[in-house]
Symmetry: C2
Subunit: 229 residues, 2 copies
């Protein structure tokens, strides 16, 4: 869920790739992993497109960005394509992530990380509650937010997740950015205002939920575009 803004883009080789393409590539790779796991060797664009809920044309167009060529007769080789997308998406080295806010949501995020995502690791948690600080949570040390700057620098963290109440989110974000974070994932229901060179992604459950509720009330055959006039 997101608001359309001047898209952040990133160069690869001499090309520039939009956020939308990146998101879909991530999705394709996940599907390819599942396919590889289930023993599939080759896949056609229309098959993969169905699994990703995308048109085949769009899939092929997206794949142009990663410079991988499929065979007209066999389609794409699952493992090879997965690796090629990985080469495009993955960091050269493991990225360290910080989590701020160890409430219900924070714990859910910890649970989410277990096992998965070897290339992204939560190496530090922060909170303001003394009861939650200076402990180990899922093998990860927790600190008081006031130590953020030191810890972030020491551990070379440049990605952070914010899972604190809305009222605290902006000041937390300011602290993080000041401590060198380049990229944020914000779960608080507030639009953060930050310098333009910081990448922010909002997961705004409140807005998303209202949106879903709104569209639950639309006319039955809306998908067919039946509007008069």
């Amino acid at each position: 869920m997101t608001i359309k803004r001047p898209r952040t883009r990133r160069k690869l080789g001499r090309r520039t790739v939009s956020e939308l393409v990146v998101v879909r590539l991530i999705l394709y790779r996940r599907i390819l992993r599942d396919l590889a796991f289930s023993g599939t060797r080759y896949v056609f664009s229309h098959q993969l497109a169905i699994l990703a809920d995308v048109t085949p044309e769009q899939l092929r167009r997206d794949l142009m960005n990663v410079r991988y060529e499929g065979s007209p007769t066999r389609g794409y080789e699952v493992v090879a394509l997965e690796e090629r997308i990985g080469a495009f998406l993955d960091p050269p080295t493991t990225q360290s992530v910080a989590l701020v806010g160890v409430g219900n949501l924070g714990r859910a995020l910890f649970a989410y990380f277990l096992g998965r995502r070897p290339l992204l690791q939560i190496v530090a948690a922060f909170d303001i509650d003394p009861a939650k600080v200076d402990r180990m949570i899922n093998g990860c040390p927790s600190y008081h937010i006031s130590e953020a700057r030191t810890v972030m620098r020491d551990k070379g963290i440049n990605v952070a997740m914010i899972a604190v109440p809305a009222a605290a989110a902006q000041s937390v974000a300011d602290i993080l950015v000041e401590a060198g974070v380049r990229s944020l994932l914000n779960f608080a229901d507030v639009r953060l205002r930050l310098p333009p060179d910081v990448y922010v992604e909002h997961i705004d459950i409140g807005v998303t939920l209202e949106k879903v509720a709104f569209f639950a009330r639309r006319p039955v055959a809306a998908a067919k575009d039946v509007g008069p006039a």
Copy 2:
């Protein structure tokens, strides 16, 4: 976070409104609430635009959809505009929501609903774990998923949130749709395949997180569009 597809639209009066507009309207209203709470009476489009992280032109254009006119000299009257947007967005009556999956994330969602959102209420929770079933959770009864159909019908639920492991999500979704749900909010990291008249919104934390990590590695001044060639 979402993939661009043929946009779901909804008529209002004789106009049709896109998802993007709806999302922004929801956001504007939230900001207006905060402004009203802090005692602000009037607001100009450029002020509101900054708070919403949008251009003033876009804000004004969005507001055209709700048929509210501001004054050239005072701007928009905060409370009146908030109410006007509410009249556009809100359901005539309270909507009942179901939550499937009472794990970490499910509980976080319950916590989220506390106090807020009088127009959306979780009236039933479902799980497959016997230990979590037939209890009260935050004043809401929990049932085994096998009872979904009956309960959903009885309570007139047409919106549901899915917070179960990825492997179970599709079958849960099928059950829900079969039980009459029109609109889904899915937190599982799987793309659900459902009939086109069902509205689905994905909150895919895995994808979003990878995206954030990816853009943390972009060149420093990317925002200025410094690409050569």
